[in-house]
Symmetry: C2
Subunit: 331 residues, 2 copies
DNA sequence: AGTAAAATTGCAAAGGTTTGCGATAATGTT
DNA sequence: AACATTATCGCAAACCTTTGCAATTTTACT
């Protein structure tokens, strides 16, 4: 039956050409008002919607944006995703979400999938283990813009949107020193990531710069339970830390569990300061003092950057987002 | 330049026909080994990948799955999404994620977008306010299967994957009664949702059935801060509840904040039991006793259901997932 | 060698849309 | 009335792939 809603069928019924229908529907000036009216009415009636694939095929561009993250169900990313999706929808784009599960091979497969689907742009937060950016470069030079966010490569020859990680570290340092703390246990995530290195650098260097009397010992915790274990072990030594710094929500989660397990009180028994999205810090008593890294703000900024790429055709850029301290009572 | 990697170009270079190239690449038995070899080599070299749109257009089916939820950054959905994405990827599908932000109009727009993109299937968790399922039915009958999950319609003439909500309510009831509690403040979310009604029914009816001596007062909290406010107000009355039941993580979050604000101890000052995904309950001291509703399990099940639809072509079905009690020390 | 069967390849249409350009019809100008 | 404009519209190619069927070549068999 010829009842499928296509340009061809509409044209057939109205006994006019396909091109006229096509143009009528996009309000092309060449088409007579009367014709437009008839076409629009019938299209409405038939519930016509253009076949997206045909359009993509013809125009060779899709209104889809690729997003590749290690894990969506991460405290930080899901607010980023949420914001990005919102902004994208406003502009008529839709989001193709891929997880790479911290596996470079999957990450590469996802990248191919994006290319295959001719996405308009790819937003990427790198896997911790990714070292080789060849595939990214290849795709980037094939015409699909890539915007890195949060977990970005060191290389400056690309487009990055990230947090002012070093400043965040410094801000934490000043807060800690300001409260007169002397013995800091600073917990960080994957040391491969520039985000980790920068935060660590900011924190340690700023403390050193401010005072020689504060001792900082940095450790790596790969996940919540490691963080928990490390805290518990540290608190059993005689040289106990008086402050814990948590680089991420994931680590903070572990630390909270550890504190609860040991029945410690903040800030008397142990002070806590974290870098966080702001949700978890509100759940404790007292609330935890944290430096806010808003996934939502980052998401919005990322979309903005994409718009700029489209308009101005830039190919390298660094956007940095500032953060602020939110005081709880944990330090 | 003719260097774009398409079947046509490969065929041109090798001086064979497009169809031969196409078939060679899919290892069609009609094609000679030698030819296949040559084609594959060149395709590899040229970094050929089929144009997804052309394939979709031709075959009229895409390897994309639509997902419509009120909010991704919801405690429950993001684990669902994460699991679904994983399962989908295994089968070569990719996820198109749309948020409707609890707005029926946006929800409908998203639905259209899915149709427009000819997705293979749509997974939907309804907005609280959605009452009219006409659009869903229209799309459903247009050939795209729709699988409702979590927030599902009452109507049984569709495909649903959901939790054993009434049983969950009953399980909570038995736990509360078993602990000898007498005065329960039960907090629920949007009363429009069947999920809410069922949980409420399960809880209240089971308690009534078990004993006449327990008083349950049910209230509606639309978000975290309302939940917090309600708890605080309730604890200031002289007929204080001895137990709070939280229907969701969102409500639980508010309750925890309220408890912290008032400086209450669980379970002495107030006992808490919740329905939760399991993350937040681990953050308190003592940990909160909860009935686990795994987004991950639901996601996996949802994908399974889709596979069944594909294979057996069913059009109505109800899948129910059981839950279990996880004991913390909050009751 | 001649024919049948099998192996290999190509033709061409189809899928739905967009768009440059040419064709036709309507209107305006002298 | 003859010509120039302008307003409308249609033709046909292009985007890239898939696939039924026909055409061609090779191999097998008598």
């Amino acid at each position: 039956m010829g009842s499928k809603a296509t340009l061809k069928n509409i044209a057939g019924i109205l006994e006019i050409s396909i091109s006229t229908v096509s143009r009528a529907l996009k309000d092309h000036p060449d088409i007579a008002q009367e014709t437009k009216r008839k076409v629009r009415e019938l299209a409405e009636l038939m519930d016509y919607e253009p076949n997206a694939f045909a359009v993509y095929l013809r125009t060779n561009e899709s209104k889809v944006i690729g997003l590749i993250v290690p894990e969506i169900s991460n405290y930080f990313y899901h607010s980023f995703v949420s914001a990005l999706e919102n902004e994208a929808r406003k502009k008529g784009y839709t989001l193709l979400i891929l997880q790479s599960g911290n596996d470079s091979a999957v990450e590469e497969a996802n990248l191919r999938l994006c290319k295959l689907n001719r996405v308009a742009c790819i937003f990427v937060a790198l896997c911790s283990e990714t070292r080789d950016l060849a595939t990214f470069n290849r795709i980037g030079s094939s015409g699909i813009p890539i915007v890195f966010f949060d977990k970005v490569p060191e290389d400056n020859n690309c487009i990055k949107v990230c947090l002012a990680d070093r400043d965040i570290g410094r801000l934490a340092a000043r807060t800690i020193v300001g409260k007169g703390k002397k013995n800091v246990l600073a917990m960080f995530g994957n040391p491969n990531l520039s985000i980790t290195r920068k935060r660590k650098q900011g924190l340690t260097e700023e403390i050193k710069k401010l005072t020689p009397f504060v001792n900082v010992s940095t450790v790596t915790a790969n996940n919540s339970s490691e963080a928990k274990a490390i805290l518990i072990e540290a608190m059993e030594k005689k040289e106990k830390p008086d402050t814990v710094f948590c680089m991420s929500d994931e680590i903070l989660t572990g630390v909270i569990m550890g504190i609860n397990k040991l029945g410690l009180k903040m800030p008397q028994d142990i002070a806590v300061i974290a870098i966080s999205n702001g949700f978890i810090p509100k759940l404790t008593n007292p609330e935890i003092t944290y430096i806010e890294t808003s996934g939502a703000v980052l998401g919005k900024k990322a979309m903005q950057t994409f718009t700029e790429i489209l308009e101005k055709g830039i190919s390298k850029k660094l956007d940095v987002i500032n953060s602020k301290l939110v005081e709880g009572g944990s330090i």
